[in-house]
Amino acid sequence: SQQGEEDPQALSIQEGENATMNCSYKTSINNLQWYRQNSGRGLVHLILIRSNEREKHSGRLRVTLDTSKKSSSLLITASRAADTASYFCATPYFNQAGTALIFGKGTTLSVSS
């Protein structure tokens, strides 16, 4: 089942501009993560924000979490061509066998120079 849904599906910007991606989820969570995937490669973990946090920064990344709206946003400031990638949000999924992650469909970001 799909827990997170990213918006927009695709985003094209110029170098130096900011890029904002949004993620909505359905059930209560204790944390939310963002991952990046360069074309044809594995995913790379970017940042994790816990349910008791509203905002978190890591370098040029800023993540917000609004648990009342069940949504999160990822802001990349001063984007570079190297930021071109797909970005996914992921939320934990628990069952008796353990914990997994459910990923959204992703936002494809294209940064042109």
């Binding site: 991952y35 044809g40 490669r41 066998a97």
Partner: protein, 113 residues
């Protein structure tokens, strides 16, 4: 430091042939291990995960199976491939129960003809 390996990197197989994809993790013990599939331009679909040797949880009933013969080895198999099995297969690990963050391998691109 921990590393995760997947092989082969690419594979072209005829319909009806068997499949074996291997994933190994180094530098950690008793990891949680995961197999995902990503169709072209799509998000990640969780296929299997394992919290220990011989323990496999299947998320999506299908033409695939998984096994964990050793602590840091995770194998994805099929007896007879279907066209619909084509995709990008990603293995990931998580460090036990201390965090929800997952670390991904480089992936295997499978094309079934």
């Amino acid at each position: 430091s921990q590393t995760i390996h997947q092989w082969p990197a690419t594979l072209v197989q005829p319909v009806g042939s068997p499949l074996s994809l291997e994933c190994t993790v180094e530098g950690t013990s008793n990891p949680n291990l995961y197999w995902y599939r990503q169709a072209a331009g799509r998000g990640l679909q969780l296929l299997f995960y394992s919290v220990g040797i011989g323990q496999i949880s299947s998320e999506v009933p299908q033409n695939l199976s998984a096994s964990r013969p050793q602590d840091r080895q995770f194998i994805l198999s099929s007896k007879k491939l279907l066209l619909s099995d084509s995709g990008f297969y990603l293995c990931a690990w998580r460090a036990g129960t201390s965090t929800d963050t997952q670390y991904f391998g480089p992936g295997t691109r499978l094309t079934v003809l």
